[in-house]
């Protein structure tokens, strides 16, 4: 060799040898695997890129005669070297590679397929994204309206065909959404009762009107706080649970199996759950009202309001209509929460992530609809005095 030889020993498994600017050799030896290639790959490739920058022809030879074992990553490494040569118009050859590795190297022909040209997805303008968002909103509204129609029809059917309703599912859903929710609803209602009356009492004390706190708090509880708190808790617990359960069934094609078997998934899955929601919500709300008012009574004892005074004051202000209004509202919330949970479940896409998305959407949509229903109800109450 008369030419100056520039040898860089990079590691034990690979060596870059440049012989002038036109030819170079990569000597690979030993055990080549995904771990031993760690930095070698990058170093050899940057040496190659450096060498390819010089003008003239480039001929790279890979000396593989001392490889003791080669795995898939070693083959990928060779392919990477070859592709870099091809791209810059150079040549590449491998010498001394054990014949048993040859078939695997051939598996990847043509290797250019392994180096796809990155596809740049076109950017969406503001108009297009706004349009798509509106379209999604319209589609969602359409889905909701269609679902409401189907559900109303199937609820009417269930009234006429009481025996055919799946009461087992109804009981399960009612137990899960109702009885299992008692501790958390009790806890939160108690806290609301205490906070409501305590905060009101601090202000009212300045006007010497502490005795009015109880009745006002009780009115607020039965008309608003009771139904609303229960509804939000139920949205978090049961709406998400319904969505996840039906969503998983959708992912596993169980819903498809119902449809192809000629059964209506709404009648089969949604009706029992909505009926459970209708039963459970007012009962839970009544329970929340009682716990809250009890908490309020206890709190007012600290302000020297005897229980009997609280009770009598409350009876003067809170009427049976107030309680009824709260419970009717609660029933509507129950329908909304359970139906939206089921709807989101049935709209589930594919894959595990889709179930999570459905559960999240169920909770968010339930709460939005609760606020909406509450607003409409408040307007009607204001106009009618109910």
């Amino acid at each position: 060799m008369t030419l100056s030889t520039d040898t860089q020993t990079i590691t034990s498994i690979a060596k870059w040898v440049s012989v002038g600017s036109a030819t170079a050799t990569v000597v690979i030896a030993g055990k080549v695997d995904v771990y031993s290639l760690a930095n070698v790959w990058t170093q050899i490739r940057s040496a190659q890129d450096q060498w390819l920058k010089s003008s003239g022809s480039h001929s790279l030879t890979c000396d593989a005669s001392n490889i003791s074992s080669l795995d898939g990553s070693g083959i990928a490494f060779l392919i990477d070297l070859e592709e870099a040569q091809k791209k810059s118009g150079g040549t590449f050859s491998i010498v001394g590679l054990d014949t048993r590795y040859q078939p695997l190297l051939k598996e990847f022909d043509p290797i250019s397929n392994l180096f796809p040209v990155p596809v740049v997805s076109p950017k969406r303008g503001l108009v297009v994204s706004t349009g798509m968002a509106v379209q999604n909103l319209i589609d969602d509204a359409k889905g909701l309206i269609t679902f409401t129609g189907h559900l109303s029809a199937d609820l009417l059917w269930s009234v006429r065909n009481v025996k055919q309703v799946r009461w087992g599912d109804f009981v399960n859903a009612a137990v899960q959404a109702g009885i299992a929710a008692l501790p958390i609803v009790g806890l939160v209602s108690f806290l609301i009762g205490v906070i409501l009356s305590f905060q009101a009492a601090i202000g009212m004390k300045q006007f010497g009107a502490v005795s009015f706190v109880g009745p006002i708090a009780a009115l607020g509880i039965v008309r608003e706080m009771g139904p609303l708190v229960t509804a939000i808790l139920l949205a978090g617990r049961s709406s998400a649970a319904f969505a996840a359960e039906i969503g998983t069934m959708t992912v596993n094609s169980e819903v498809d199996a119902l449809v192809s078997g000629g059964l209506s998934p709404i009648r089969f899955l949604v009706v029992p759950r909505v009926l459970a929601g209708i039963l459970v919500m007012p009962v839970l709300t009544l329970y929340a009202d009682i716990v809250s008012i009890f908490a309020s009574m206890i709190t007012m004892l600290a302000y020297d309001i005897p229980l009997i005074n609280f009770w009598n004051g409350m009876l003067q202000i809170v009427t049976i209509e107030d309680i009824g209004s709260g419970l009717i509202k609660a029933t509507l919330f129950g329908v909304v929460i359970s139906a939206v949970g089921c709807l989101r479940g049935m709209q589930t896409g594919t894959g595990a992530a889709a179930v999570g998305i459905s559960a999240t959407r169920a909770v968010v949509s339930s709460i939005v609809l609760i606020v909406l229903v509450d607003g409409v109800f408040a307007y009607i109450s204001y106009k009618t005095g109910f």
Binding site: Y35, W41, G72, R100, T350
Partner: protein, 258 residues
């Protein structure tokens, strides 16, 4: 292939009892899988093949006995030792078990990101090679939910090969594949075994595929809770006197033999 043979067996199963709680599926199993071998586990539905497989690669703890992977006891190993053994093999689950939130390329590169120091480009090239081997190169940016069940299985094989393990466990790789894809897969398995010396432990029912690729099979039986046949599948088919083995290899309905 002889050059690839190590002094230690790829997998050595000693006195293994497989089951759940008080239910025993298989008792006192003893067998050896040699390096570079394509080893197939056979048996009727529900006899515990998949459970045995999960015991072999340490996902479930056996009720009794030991499994040695390249001489190291996986049933007793703890912490870092266990993790090192775990990275020495790849697993393809029956349903694919791809990560639904990642595309195919990311599914394959995930384990490389955790265990190697390669750059992103290098990992992507490696992953493309794996996907190419199972014929899924054009689908690298697809999500698992966007491809068919058979494709998901093949992608799962690509993921199992991510770290170029010396041992691959495949749970029913060719079930649900069309005959052409299935034959392609068989030939890929043979190439990998013959050329890279990878050991395969495969649970399978596909007789055609078993005859084509298996070096050795063991046949499990639900009632005897053990191995009822062991050896070359073609030899077993032609010479076995055991009616259950004969039935299985010759696809005879159960009512035909008393």
């Amino acid at each position: 292939m002889d050059a690839m043979n190590h002094s230690v067996a790829a997998i050595e199963v000693q006195n293994l009892t497989v089951g759940y709680g008080s239910t025993v599926l298989m008792q006192n199993l003893d067998f050896t899988v040699n390096s570079g071998e394509i080893f197939v586990i056979l048996g009727g539905s529900g006899c515990g093949k998949s459970s045995l497989l999960k015991n072999l690669f340490g996902l479930y703890q056996p009720l009794a006995g030991d499994v040695l992977i390249e001489g190291q006891n996986i049933t007793r190993a703890q912490g870092a030792d266990r993790q090192r053994i775990m990275t020495s093999f790849g697993v393809m689950y029956q349903q694919g078990a791809l990560f639904g939130s990642m595309n195919l390329l990311d599914n394959v590169t995930l384990f490389m990101q955790e265990y190697t120091q390669l750059t992103d480009d290098q990992m992507n090239l490696l992953a493309r090679c794996k996907l190419d081997l199972v014929g899924l190169l054009p689908y690298e940016s697809y999500m698992p939910s966007e491809i068919s069940g058979g494709m998901q299985k093949r992608a799962a094989i690509a993921r199992a090969m991510a770290l170029d393990p010396k041992i691959l466990f495949l749970d029913e790789p060719s079930a649900g594949l069309d005959p052409i894809t299935s034959a392609d897969l068989d030939s890929t398995i043979q190439d990998l075994s013959r050329n890279l010396g990878i050991t395969f432990v495969i649970v399978s029912h596909e007789l055609a595929s078993i005859y084509a690729i298996a070096d050795k099979v063991i046949m499990l039986d639900k009632n005897s809770k053990g191995i009822i046949a062991e050896g070359d599948p073609k030899v077993l088919r032609d010479t076995s006197k055991d009616p259950r083995v004969h039935q299985f290899f010759n696809r005879i309905m159960s009512k035909d033999t008393a």
